[in-house]
Symmetry: D3
Subunit: 245 residues, 6 copies
Amino acid sequence: MSRCVIQVINPNTSQAMTATIGAAATRVAAPGTEIVAVCPSQGVPSIEGHFDEAVATLGVLELIRQGREQGVSGHVIACFGDPGLLAARELACAPVIGIAEAAMHLATLVATRFSIVTTLPRTLIIARHLLQRYGFEHHCAALHAIDLPVLALDDAQGLAQHKVREMCIQSKRQDGSGAIVLGCGGMADLAQTLTQELAMPVIDGVSAAVKMVESLVGLGLGTSKHGDLDYPLDKPLTGVFEGLR
Amino acid sequence: MSRCVIQVINPNTSQAMTATIGAAATRVAAPGTEIVAVCPSQGVPSIEGHFDEAVATLGVLELIRQGREQGVSGHVIACFGDPGLLAARELACAPVIGIAEAAMHLATLVATRFSIVTTLPRTLIIARHLLQRYGFEHHCAALHAIDLPVLALDDAQGLAQHKVREMCIQSKRQDGSGAIVLGCGGMADLAQTLTQELAMPVIDGVSAAVKMVESLVGLGLGTSKHGDLDYPLDKPLTGVFEGLR
Amino acid sequence: MSRCVIQVINPNTSQAMTATIGAAATRVAAPGTEIVAVCPSQGVPSIEGHFDEAVATLGVLELIRQGREQGVSGHVIACFGDPGLLAARELACAPVIGIAEAAMHLATLVATRFSIVTTLPRTLIIARHLLQRYGFEHHCAALHAIDLPVLALDDAQGLAQHKVREMCIQSKRQDGSGAIVLGCGGMADLAQTLTQELAMPVIDGVSAAVKMVESLVGLGLGTSKHGDLDYPLDKPLTGVFEGLR
Amino acid sequence: MSRCVIQVINPNTSQAMTATIGAAATRVAAPGTEIVAVCPSQGVPSIEGHFDEAVATLGVLELIRQGREQGVSGHVIACFGDPGLLAARELACAPVIGIAEAAMHLATLVATRFSIVTTLPRTLIIARHLLQRYGFEHHCAALHAIDLPVLALDDAQGLAQHKVREMCIQSKRQDGSGAIVLGCGGMADLAQTLTQELAMPVIDGVSAAVKMVESLVGLGLGTSKHGDLDYPLDKPLTGVFEGLR
Amino acid sequence: MSRCVIQVINPNTSQAMTATIGAAATRVAAPGTEIVAVCPSQGVPSIEGHFDEAVATLGVLELIRQGREQGVSGHVIACFGDPGLLAARELACAPVIGIAEAAMHLATLVATRFSIVTTLPRTLIIARHLLQRYGFEHHCAALHAIDLPVLALDDAQGLAQHKVREMCIQSKRQDGSGAIVLGCGGMADLAQTLTQELAMPVIDGVSAAVKMVESLVGLGLGTSKHGDLDYPLDKPLTGVFEGLR
Amino acid sequence: MSRCVIQVINPNTSQAMTATIGAAATRVAAPGTEIVAVCPSQGVPSIEGHFDEAVATLGVLELIRQGREQGVSGHVIACFGDPGLLAARELACAPVIGIAEAAMHLATLVATRFSIVTTLPRTLIIARHLLQRYGFEHHCAALHAIDLPVLALDDAQGLAQHKVREMCIQSKRQDGSGAIVLGCGGMADLAQTLTQELAMPVIDGVSAAVKMVESLVGLGLGTSKHGDLDYPLDKPLTGVFEGLR
């Protein structure tokens, strides 16, 4: 496998979370892989709903376009709602992987059913919709929210991390699942420790997505440009969107 | 029913299509209803894919916020992919209805199964995803694309209109459906004529959505602010997004 | 919108419930709409199972035929199981709307998921089957029964109303739903109060159905007579059914 | 197995079809089984839509009640739409089997997928709804209608029989199904011949239902009276329905 | 009905369980039916997972081939996971019925929804997959495991039987189901007593499968040899598999 | 990533196909990955149905056990029906990936919908069942069979390869899919050429599965041993199965 550059996009504007995500990505990257972790210069500091996703999507697309121009080998959208995924796939020719889909896909390969542990209850509907879209409704045994906002994961005191761990332990006891999917990019650094402590796969989407991109790149497969993911039609974008395509 | 002001948002920037949509909305509006047809000042001239939708969503949200501040009674998102629908619902307290959902809902009330006639083949996947999301996969017997871009509907020669009509006739003969849903806001002016010519319901989403908003307003029902459609969390939006919420 | 006459059919023979239903319908009717609330002269006093529905269906069809002959603009079937809905649609050319479908449809337009609160547990299966038929299984988060018969809602002491309210409060706390659907025509007068008290949409199907009929009438759409909802084939009905078609 | 009396109910009023159905039932009945083929004294001469089904259901229920009072061992509803099935189950304590469900169930036991051949296209929606209700959507590869009314099967010239045979042959060639379900009680006498001629299972619901009733009776299983199929609640039925329960 | 010989295959090697299964089968067999209960001479003593199923499948196929050569009228696979069902159908021309499918099918004919009571929690996934495959996901209200291994049912002290009974009582109280399916061939002797004690259908798959085979034999229907269940292609099997086909 | 040894199991006994599969696996293996391609010493020469799968599963399990004892990093089951997948996962602690699942998963990451091109029509049902099990029914637009047996792919004249290519071209023209999945391990060497010729992703499961194993190994994730994929219970296997666990 030749040199592989993966653009890991944190769709929110938090530098701390971008660093966490970038570190998690780097930790699992194959020898030949370079991770470029980026976040938009403008947008929302965290993503906890459809509005936040819609806003963040513009930043994602701007970064995808930049990545494409820089010739990166693949892109990761590192927010658990996979905001802008299909739009990004239209814009890119390289693979584009969302961290929710990556984690969900891999979870179905190591367990018959999995549970999801995420941040705020209001984001659960986004996970539910993704399960339906990706075809994994029957593979998800339960969804849990720790009821803390995303940015609590940046807090040095670790309350959010504590709650994630508690919820994972409870999930293991109750759900009858064989694996747990961590439902937020900001939890990327918890997966390995929890996997060992709980003695079951606890899956982080960021690292999962990096491996999926590496896989597709290694197979010479990019996003299909035949059919409905072809490049956006050539139309004059106006205003702040000029030059986005 | 007291005075009802419905903001009809054409998510693309085409003035001609905004006029078509506004006229269709006005034609069916109840006596007490005022239609305010608007489109974004910047964005994409037509919407034919996920990228276009993502870009258009920002304009939709900006207009939703304006409409909310103006105290409108409800909002219509007049593009068949219902771009930004759930984000708009978070932003609004009044009802927000997409034209695809409105047309699909009503079609299931007058026929056991319906067909969809839309513009470019690449938009079919958007309709498929909406059918899945809304629960109407079993109610849709067939999807057809006339293979002309959206803006061909603005063309004075009427080739697109001709093709829509041909496709509807073919659909009636083949699909075993009891109704046809027109899959583009730019087809809003064709529904009534085709309904009469084909002697079966041919449903335009723009007018359907206006009636759905009137219905919800008449019932005193707005978008639920309990749970996952509550207002976006109060976070500092930066750059061009400042003030969007 | 020209004059609109909506026949609201209470499928059971309870005059008190017919009055409740008629009042709820009238309360939300648009200025140009006249409500004609009727119930069969023979049948069952309340509907709490498939047998009751089958019996009530005959009365519904007789009334639909009468309404059609009187030239009404549309019909509402005001029992939460929507008994005889597709048979009624064959018989009618105007729109026919069931209150379960009306409430469920509208609930999906104001919330991502809804709960149902109904009367006896044995009727839950009817609601489940309708959710499947209409496509809303994924939109319904929970079903609850207050475990009192339908006619308890006619009781002046208000025990049933009290239990409905308690159940709605519990549902709001537990289900993660954004809206509640009231699962009985006899609860029609509770929706508005509960919507305000609970600060979330609590939806009554009777008023919802009235607005759906008004919507379809306003759009010039009737039940499709192309295909499987065409008029019943012309065959000699015998016995008590003579003249029913 | 002690003596078993199976009431085979033809829901329409055609004596000729009742005879066909009775003969088919008798042909497969086990030694200890007595077939009592009946049809309502009033109703519809054939069933080709939801309206016809609703009318026929009353006759079915009246006969179920009579059968119950006579102490029959089980009931068959011999019309492919299984009209009134759940209402009949409430009324009965013995097993009640519809011929559509019987044929579909058995088809899934001898083939991975089956096709349906029925009469008029307008009845296809009824079969589709049953497939959904019974859970066999994925097991049905194709539905075909010969486009002749039910009573054409009573015609001595045999045109309908010819068309059924042609359609079965075509289905075998095209559908990739391993079995064919005949979608009308009036086709009951064709199954055996076609099974042999086509060298694949061609399944008639009447005989299938008889065997299902025998099976349940042999196992000492009746319709569950625990829960939602319990006897109808004791309420005063009025008019022509008096005494129906 | 002429003489009918049903080969009842216990896929595990437990003689005690084979006797239990054979007795249950014999108890319900019609007068003309002979039960031949067999088990493999080598394999696994009990089946509690996919590995056990895979091993047991070979023994099942060997016995199916023998049964076919002996000219039996039909085959029953008497393990609740229905191991090797489709492979057995390829090998046989007579009907082959699994006890899980038989019990589930019959449960849907006497109740709107059923519950399952089985042995170890790790086997629940097998039941879930069968529900999906057979189309009965919506018909199953709950799955319960008594958390004792299969062979505990052979224990004279009856602890497992006690736990099954307790679980059935709890299921009746909680699940809202109208019937219970016993999820293990070793529970075959419990169904009749529990049906009477609980006053609701408690269904054993062994006896259910016997009746399903009798039904198909009585109808002259065997496993379809048209299409994907045709005999295995003629290829040289090697090693221990020589002569298996 | 430390050294990674992937055992690639061809479940049939064809040495030629094992070589093809091994070569395809080696071609995409990452620098640190060693491919060990094996096939059973006894079993079936090709797999074209459920019976063949059942026989081949034993060989797969025997090889999985050997691989586990040799300490391989992961296992690939290189037959498109993924025979014995869940049984193998019980036996292994390292990841086990089937080539059908690998190809289907990756196809959903580069296209909204995919088509499948496989060998004999009788194997289509296996692919259909896997689509259902894995959750990808909505992602598969069409299934095609070239109607040649698996071993035709070993034929030097290349007729099968020619037919695969023709079918892929036809699929691209007709199906509206963005990717094609090759439905047989013996087609592993065709994917890269076809991807380039057709200018769309044509995905081979063998190479896909290798990358999925590498991904899981790189993430430190193995098959979950918590819950229903835990090691088989410790029970005495007898006869030829002794020592298999």
